[in-house]
C-alpha cells in the first residue's frame, strides 16, 4: 500500500471514530522498517474537538500478508487497553480495525511514544557501568510486567489462566502452529517435542507473560527504558517463560554482557526484585521452548515465503536446531 493510500484510509478511519465534525487530517506518513511481524506506519493526525485542534503523533500496526507470526490485533488491543490501568509502561492504544474493513488489513492505532530502539545496546559502545545499569533496569521492567495485577486489570477476561499446566499448554500451542504451517517433516522438532513433553515443569504461579521481551521491543530515552512494545504474544503463564526467553543461548548478545551481566546475575536480581525463587531447571526448559518457538516461527515464515505472502526467506536454521537439540538433550539427561 502506498503512502497516499494509507493516508487516505487513515483519514476516513479517524473520521469514523471521531465523528463527522472532527475533520481529521493525516500528515507525515512514513513506513518504518523496524518490526518484523507487523507493517508499521508512523503518522501525525490532527482533528477538531470542541472547537479546539487536537494533534497526536500516532503509529498504525497492520497485519502483513504473511510472516513469522499470525496473531490477533483485537487481543493486542485488549491487552494494551488493560495495561493503561497498571504500572506497566505500554503504548497508549487509540483505535482498532479488527477485521481490516477500513484499513485493508487488521490494524491497531497507538500513540507514538518517545524513545529509540536498539537491539544490541547492552553490547554497544556505552561504558560498561552504564550498560549494566540499563540491564538492571530492563530486568526491573520485566519484574514490573510479572507483578502487574492482571486480575484487577481485567486480563482474566482476555486470557485463560493456564494454572500449573502453563508449560504443557504453551508447548501444545506451538506444536499446533507447527502442524498448521510445516511444509515438510522436521524429525529434529519431533525429537525436541518428545523431550519437552517428558520434562515439562509445573508453573510456579500465573503472571502476565510478555512473550517477546527483548531490548529491541523497549523504547529508551537516554539510558531509561520508557515503553515496552509489541504485546502481540502476551498471555497468562509462568514467569519462567519470559526468563527462559531472555536467557536462551540464541539471544545472549541482546540480554547479557559477558563477564558483567550474566545469566546468574540476571536471575539473582530478578529474585531480589520480586521476592520469588527462580527454578533454574524450569528456566532451562523454557530456554528450550524458546528455541522451539523460534524454529516454529521460521517454519511459518517458510510457508509464507513459499505461498508468496512474504518476500523474506525464513527456514529453521542449523544454529537454532542444534541449540534446541543441545538444550533438550540436557533436560532429558537430567530427568534420567
Amino acid at each position: 500500500m502506498s503512502e497516499g493510500e494509507i493516508s487516505s484510509r487513515l483519514e476516513s478511519f479517524l473520521g469514523e471514530r471521531l465523528g463527522p465534525s472532527s475533520r481529521p487530517r493525516v500528515d507525515n506518513v512514513e513506513r518504518v522498517a523496524v518490526g518484523r511481524s507487523r507493517e508499521n506506519w508512523l503518522f501525525d493526525a490532527s482533528w477538531q474537538q470542541d472547537g479546539v485542534e487536537v494533534r497526536e503523533s500516532l503509529i498504525v500496526r497492520r497485519d502483513p500478508l504473511g510472516g513469522l507470526l499470525e496473531t490477533d490485533r483485537a487481543v493486542e488491543y485488549a491487552v494494551l487497553a488493560a495495561l493503561e490501568h497498571t504500572a506497566v509502561p505500554a503504548p497508549a492504544v487509540r483505535w482498532l480495525d479488527a477485521h481490516g474493513v477500513e484499513l485493508g488489513r487488521p490494524s491497531l492505532v497507538m500513540v507514538r511514544e518517545a524513545g529509540e530502539c536498539d537491539y544490541f545496546v547492552l553490547n554497544g559502545d556505552w561504558a560498561l557501568s552504564k550498560r549494566v545499569e540499563l540491564a538492571r533496569r530492563l530486568c526491573a521492567l520485566l519484574a514490573t510486567v510479572h507483578q502487574a495485577d492482571w486480575r484487577r486489570a481485567g486480563l482474566g477476561e482476555v486470557f485463560e489462566d493456564p494454572g500449573l499446566d502453563a508449560a504443557t499448554i504453551e508447548l501444545a500451542r506451538w506444536e499446533s502452529i507447527l502442524r498448521r504451517d510445516q511444509l515438510e517433516p522436521y524429525p529434529e522438532l519431533e525429537l525436541a517435542l518428545r523431550g519437552l513433553r517428558a520434562t515439562a515443569p509445573a508453573a510456579a504461579r500465573t503472571v502476565l507473560v510478555h512473550g517477546d521481551f527483548k531490548v529491541g521491543n523497549v523504547l529508551l530515552q537516554g539510558d531509561i527504558p520508557t515503553t515496552l512494545l509489541d504485546w502481540e504474544l502476551a498471555h497468562l503463564g509462568d514467569p519462567h517463560e519470559d526468563l527462559g526467553w531472555i536467557t536462551q543461548p540464541l539471544r545472549t548478545r541482546e540480554h547479557l554482557i559477558a563477564g558483567a551481566w550474566q545469566r546468574q546475575d540476571l536471575l539473582a536480581y530478578y529474585e531480589e526484585l520480586t521476592g520469588w525463587t527462580v527454578d533454574h531447571r524450569a528456566v532451562r526448559w523454557w530456554n528450550a521452548l524458546a528455541c522451539f518457538k523460534t524454529a516454529v516461527m521460521q517454519a511459518s515464515g517458510l510457508r509464507a515465503y513459499v505461498e508468496g505472502r512474504c518476500d523474506e526467506l525464513y527456514q529453521p536454521t542449523a544454529v537454532v536446531l542444534s541449540t534446541l537439540a543441545d538444550l533438550v538433550d540436557e533436560l532429558v539427561g537430567e530427568a534420567g
Binding site: L183, L191, E254, M297, E312, L313, A318
Partner: protein
C-alpha cells in the same frame, strides 16, 4: 525439499517488480532489492552442493532406517531400498526421496519402543540429524537487509 528453486525465483521476480514500479527508489524498494540480491547469492552458493548433499543424506537415512526396521518393521525405507538411478542424477527425485525418508525418521521418534533398544535407536536418529545440520546447504542463513552480522533469530 522446500523451498524449491522455482519458488525462490518467483519470489525474486516479485521483489524486482516491486522495485521497478517505484518511480523513486525509496527505503522499501531498496530493501527489496537487497533481499533479492541476498537470495540470489544464496541460490548461487547452495545449488551446486544441493544434489550431492541430498544423495549422501538419502544413503545415510536409508541405512539407518533399515537398521531401525529390525525393531519397527514400519520404518523400513520404501522401495527402492537405497537409491534409484534417477535419485542420484535428478535433484527433484532426490528431494522427493529425502522428504519420504525424513518423514520416516520423524515417525521413528514415536514408533520406536520406550525401552533401552528404542532409546538407542532414537539416539542414532539424533546423531544423524546433528551430523546433517552442518552439511545441509539449505540451512545457511540469509542476511537481513541492512542488518549487520550480529545474531538475531526472529
Amino acid at each position: 525439499m522446500q523451498p524449491t528453486v522455482a519458488a525462490q525465483l518467483r519470489a525474486i521476480q516479485r521483489l524486482v517488480q516491486e522495485a521497478r514500479a517505484d518511480p523513486v527508489l525509496g527505503v522499501a524498494a531498496a530493501q527489496a532489492l537487497t533481499l533479492a540480491a541476498a537470495q540470489l547469492r544464496r541460490l548461487e552458493g547452495a545449488e551446486a552442493t544441493r544434489l550431492p548433499f541430498l544423495v549422501e543424506d538419502n544413503v545415510a537415512m536409508a541405512a539407518l532406517l533399515a537398521d531401525l526396521a529390525v525393531l519397527v518393521p514400519d520404518l523400513a525405507p520404501p522401495d527402492p531400498p537405497l537409491l534409484s538411478p534417477e535419485a542420484v542424477t535428478s535433484e527433484a527425485a532426490a528431494a522427493r526421496r529425502n522428504v519420504e525418508l525424513r518423514q520416516l525418521l520423524a515417525q521413528a521418534v514415536y514408533l520406536l519402543p520406550d525401552d533401552d533398544a528404542g532409546d538407542a535407536g532414537r539416539t542414532r536418529v539424533a546423531q544423524l540429524l546433528r551430523a546433517r545440520l552442518g552439511r545441509n546447504p539449505a540451512l545457511n542463513r540469509i542476511p537481513r537487509p541492512g542488518a549487520d552480522q550480529r545474531e538475531s533469530h526472529d
